[in-house]
C-alpha cells in the first residue's frame, strides 16, 4: 500500500513538471476547465434553461459528445486486440496509451452525462441498492453498468502494469490477461449499449435502425485509432519514448478499414432515407438539406461528409498513408468529421422534426459550449497526466529506485529537439 502511495505521489509530481510548452498546455487546459466550471455554476443555478435545449430537442451537444467519446473509449480497444490477443510486439509497447485514452474518454463521457442531468443531486437514485435500479428494462442502466465497468477495467489494468514496471518487476500475466480479454468484449459492449440507447427509441425512425450499432463500432474504430495516431506523433516529438513507424502503419491500416466500413454503412443509411422519401426520412432530409427553411446543422454535416471521404481517400493511398506529415492531418480530419457526423449529426436531427412533426431548431448556448470545452479540457488533462506518467515509467525516468532528477535534463533535450526539428 505504501509502495503504491509512493508510486502515486511520484506520478503526481511528474504530471506537474515539464517544459514551458507543457506548462502552457496545462495552463490552457486549466483555463478552459475554470470556464467550464463557471458555465456549469450558471447552469446549476438557473437549470437547464441556460442551455439551448428545449422540449422539442431535449438532448443537445452534451449527449452528442457523450456518444462520441464513448466511441473514442471503445476505439482504444483497437490497440488491445493486436497487443494481447494477437501478441503483436509493436502494440504491446503502446497498448497502455490506448487504455489511457479509454480512461480519459470515459471520464469525459460520464461527465457529459452528469452535466446533462436536470437533478444532479438526485443522481444516486439510479445506483443499485441505495436507489432504484431499473435494470434490465432501461438501457440507461445498462450504460451505467458498462461504462463504469469499462472505466474500472481500464484504470486497474494499466495501474497494475505500470506499478509493476515502476518497481522494476514484470507484471503477472495470470492476473491481468483475463481482465484484458474481458475488456475487449466490454469495449464492444459499451459502444453497442450506447448505440442501443438510441436504437431502443422505437418511435424514432432516425435512430431505430439495426445498422446503428455496427455503424457506431466502425466509426469508433476509425476515430479512436485516428486519435491515437495523432497522440503517437505528439509523443514522438515531445519525448524520448520510441514508437516505431511499423506501429503507426499498422494502426493506420485499422483506421482505413474501419473508415471504409463506416462509409459503407453511412451510405446504406442515406440510400434508405432518400430512395423513397417518406415521413420517416424527415430527419435525414433535415440533416442533409434542411426542412422548411431550417438548416442549422446542414453545413456542418456536409463539411463532415466531405472531410470524411477525403480523409479516407488519403489514408487509402499507401504512399500518403506512410507519410506522417499527411497521415496526421488526415487522421485529424477523419476524427473531426466523425465527431460531427456521430455526435451533432445523429442526436440533434433525431429530434427534428419532433415526434409530432414540429420543427424547432436547436443551437447551443455559450454556457453549454463553455461546459463542453471545460469537460474536454478535463479529459485532455486526464489523458496528458496518464500519458506523462506512462512515458516516464516506461522510459525509466521515474521508478521506485530513482527519483525524478533525470526529468529536467530530459525535458530540455526534448524541447531542443522540438525547436530544431
Amino acid at each position: 500500500m505504501k509502495a503504491f502511495f509512493k508510486f502515486f505521489t511520484n506520478g503526481l509530481t511528474t504530471v506537474f513538471t515539464g517544459s514551458v510548452n507543457y506548462y502552457l498546455w496545462l495552463g490552457l487546459l486549466f483555463a478552459l476547465m475554470i470556464g467550464g466550471a463557471y458555465g456549469y455554476s450558471i447552469q446549476f443555478r438557473e437549470g437547464l434553461v441556460a442551455t439551448g435545449m428545449h422540449d422539442h430537442v431535449s438532448w443537445g451537444i452534451y449527449i452528442s459528445n457523450f456518444i462520441f467519446f464513448v466511441g473514442v473509449a471503445a476505439g482504444g480497444v483497437m490497440l488491445v486486440i493486436p497487443a494481447y490477443v494477437m501478441k503483436d510486439k509493436d502494440f504491446t509497447k503502446v497498448v497502455l496509451i490506448g487504455e489511457g485514452l479509454a480512461v480519459a474518454a470515459l471520464v469525459m463521457a460520464l461527465m457529459f452525462v452528469l452535466v446533462d442531468l436536470g437533478g444532479v443531486t438526485r443522481f444516486w437514485h439510479m445506483l443499485p441498492v441505495i436507489g432504484y435500479f431499473h435494470f434490465p428494462q432501461s438501457m440507461l442502466t445498462w450504460d451505467v453498468l458498462v461504462l463504469n465497468g469499462y472505466l474500472v477495467l481500464n484504470l486497474a489494468i494499466p495501474a497494475y502494469i505500470l506499478h509493476c514496471h515502476y518497481h522494476g518487476r514484470e507484471p503477472n500475466k495470470k492476473i491481468y490477461v483475463p481482465f484484458v480479454i474481458l475488456s475487449v468484449f466490454w469495449a464492444f459492449g459499451i459502444h453497442l449499449v450506447t448505440a442501443f440507447l438510441l436504437v431502443s427509441v422505437a418511435a424514432n425512425s432516425f435512430w431505430s435502425s439495426g445498422l446503428l450499432g455496427p455503424r457506431f463500432l466502425a466509426s469508433a474504430f476509425a476515430a479512436g485509432p485516428a486519435l491515437i495516431i495523432i497522440i503517437f506523433s505528439i509523443i514522438r516529438q515531445t519525448s524520448s519514448f520510441k514508437i516505431s513507424d511499423e506501429t503507426i502503419n499498422k494502426l493506420s491500416m485499422i483506421v482505413m478499414f474501419a473508415a471504409y466500413a463506416n462509409l459503407i454503412m453511412l451510405f446504406s443509411e442515406i440510400f434508405k432515407e432518400f430512395y423513397w422519401v417518406s415521413e420517416h426520412s424527415a430527419h435525414a432530409r433535415y440533416l442533409f438539406f434542411g426542412l422548411e427553411g431550417h438548416h442549422a446543422v446542414t453545413p456542418y454535416m456536409w463539411a463532415a461528409v466531405i472531410c470524411n471521404v477525403v480523409a479516407t481517400l488519403m489514408i487509402s493511398v499507401q504512399k500518403l498513408r506512410e507519410n506522417i506529415a499527411v497521415l496526421v492531418p488526415a487522421c485529424l480530419a477523419l476524427f473531426l468529421s466523425i465527431w460531427v457526423e456521430k455526435g451533432l449529426g445523429l442526436v440533434i436531427p433525431g429530434f427534428i422534426p419532433s415526434q409530432l412533426g414540429e420543427i424547432v431548431e436547436y443551437l447551443p448556448t455559450s454556457v453549454e459550449i463553455l461546459v463542453t470545452l471545460g469537460i474536454i479540457a478535463f479529459g485532455l488533462f486526464t489523458l496528458t497526466a496518464l500519458l506523462k506518467v506512462f512515458i516516464r515509467v516506461e522510459t525509466g525516468a521515474i521508478s521506485s529506485k530513482g527519483g525524478t532528477e533525470g526529468l529536467a535534463a530530459e525535458m530540455d533535450a526534448a524541447i531542443k529537439k522540438r525547436f530544431t526539428a
Binding site: 437547464l48 436536470g118 431499473h134
Partner: protein
C-alpha cells in the same frame, strides 16, 4: 405590467450576455425567493400581504431550507410505507405554505379497484378553441413563465391524417371550414415506452392505467421524453413559477403538486380529480363535448359505448404502445 413581470420571470433567459445573466442572478439571490415572487407578481399581491411576508421571511426561509434538505434524502414514493408517504405529503403541504403562502391539500389516494381510465376524442366535434389547454394549465399548476402546456391541438387539413401536416400555432378564428382539429396529450399507453426507458423507475404506470412521475425521484435525464412517441412529456428547464393566487391548492402527490426545476412532468389525466370520480379538467372545460373520459372496465360507461359503436383509431398504433386514448368521428 404583465409583460414586464414575464420578462423578469424569464430571468437569465431574457438577457443577451452572460455578464448580464450573472448580475441578474446576483440580484435574485439578495431578495428572498418569496420577495422575488411578490415583486414578480406585484400587481396581484396586495401591499398588506407583502409586508407580512417580509416580516416572516427569515423564519420561513430557514424552514424552507430545512424542508429542501429533507427533500434531497427522500425515498422512492413507491417503496415508502404508508406512514412515510403521509409524512412526505405533510412536508410538501408545509412547503407550499412556506414557499407560496398557499394552504395546499395534497392528496395521496391510490388507484381505485376495478378502474382503468380511458379517453376518447371526437375529431368531428373539436372546434380548436384550446379551452382545454387553458383549463389544463390552470388545474395542473404548470410553469407560467415558460408557457408549458401538456395538450397540443393540431389544425389539420381535411383529408390529411398525419399530425406532421398539422399546425399548432394558429391564432385565427376557429373552427375553419375545411379543417379539423386533433388534440394530443399523454395517451397513458398500456405499454408505455417512457416508463421502460426510465433508469430510476421514477415514472410508472399505476394500476388504474395512469402514467405518473415521482417528481422527487426523477433525475432529469430526459430519456423518457426522447422515448415518448407522442411528445407528451414536458421538462422543467427552469424553476417553475406560478403566482400564489393562481395556484390550485387541490393537489395530488403524483399529480399537480408544485414541481421544481430539472424534473419531468406530464398529463396525469388530472389524477387529483379523476381518482375522486371527477372528470379531467380538459374534458370538463371542453365546450363541445368532444372529450369523453371514463372507466374502460365499466361496460356501461360512455367510453365503452364509443369503442363499441363508433369507428375509432389511435395514433401510431403500429408501435404497439396501446394508447388508452382513442379518436373517433360522428
Amino acid at each position: 405590467m404583465k409583460d414586464d413581470s414575464k420578462k423578469k420571470g424569464a430571468g437569465c433567459n431574457s438577457c443577451n450576455s452572460s455578464e448580464n445573466c450573472f448580475a441578474d442572478m446576483a440580484l435574485k439571490k439578495k431578495g428572498s425567493r418569496r420577495g422575488a415572487l411578490a415583486a414578480l407578481f406585484g400587481g396581484a399581491a396586495t401591499a398588506a400581504a407583502s409586508s407580512a411576508i417580509a416580516a416572516a421571511s427569515t423564519e420561513d426561509e430557514k424552514e424552507l431550507k430545512r424542508i429542501k434538505r429533507d427533500e434531497i434524502f427522500q425515498k422512492y414514493y413507491r417503496t415508502m410505507t404508508e406512514e412515510e408517504r403521509a409524512k412526505t405529503i405533510a412536508r410538501f403541504e408545509r412547503k407550499s405554505k412556506v414557499q407560496y403562502g398557499v394552504d395546499a391539500h395534497i392528496d395521496g389516494t391510490h388507484a381505485r379497484p376495478n378502474t382503468l381510465f380511458g379517453y376518447a376524442f371526437n375529431i368531428s366535434k373539436c372546434e380548436g378553441s384550446r379551452k382545454c389547454v387553458d383549463a389544463c394549465v390552470t388545474e395542473n399548476n404548470q410553469d407560467r413563465t415558460s408557457g408549458m402546456q401538456y395538450i397540443k391541438l393540431f389544425e389539420m387539413e381535411d383529408g390529411i391524417g398525419s399530425v406532421h401536416g398539422g399546425d399548432t400555432e394558429y391564432s385565427h378564428e376557429v373552427p375553419v371550414e375545411g379543417k379539423y382539429y386533433l388534440g394530443t396529450q399523454c395517451f397513458h399507453c398500456e405499454n408505455p415506452p417512457c416508463t421502460k426507458a426510465c433508469p430510476t423507475g421514477a415514472t410508472w404506470s399505476e394500476p388504474d392505467g395512469i402514467v405518473v412521475v415521482d417528481y422527487n425521484w426523477c433525475i432529469g435525464c430526459r430519456y423518457c421524453e426522447a422515448a415518448c412517441p407522442y411528445f407528451a412529456r414536458r421538462f422543467n428547464w427552469k424553476e417553475p413559477e406560478v403566482p400564489s393566487d393562481e395556484i390550485n391548492p387541490y393537489q395530488h402527490y403524483l399529480g399537480n403538486r408544485m414541481r421544481s426545476k430539472g424534473v419531468m412532468e406530464k398529463c396525469t389525466f388530472c389524477i387529483q380529480r379523476t381518482r375522486q370520480g371527477k372528470q379531467p379538467a380538459c374534458a370538463e372545460a371542453c365546450p363541445t363535448g368532444a372529450r369523453v373520459f371514463g372507466n374502460l372496465l365499466d361496460p356501461d360507461s360512455e367510453i365503452r359505448w364509443i369503442l363499441e359503436n363508433k369507428k375509432v383509431f389511435r395514433l401510431k398504433e403500429d408501435l404497439g404502445t396501446e394508447p388508452k386514448f382513442w379518436y373517433f368521428t360522428d
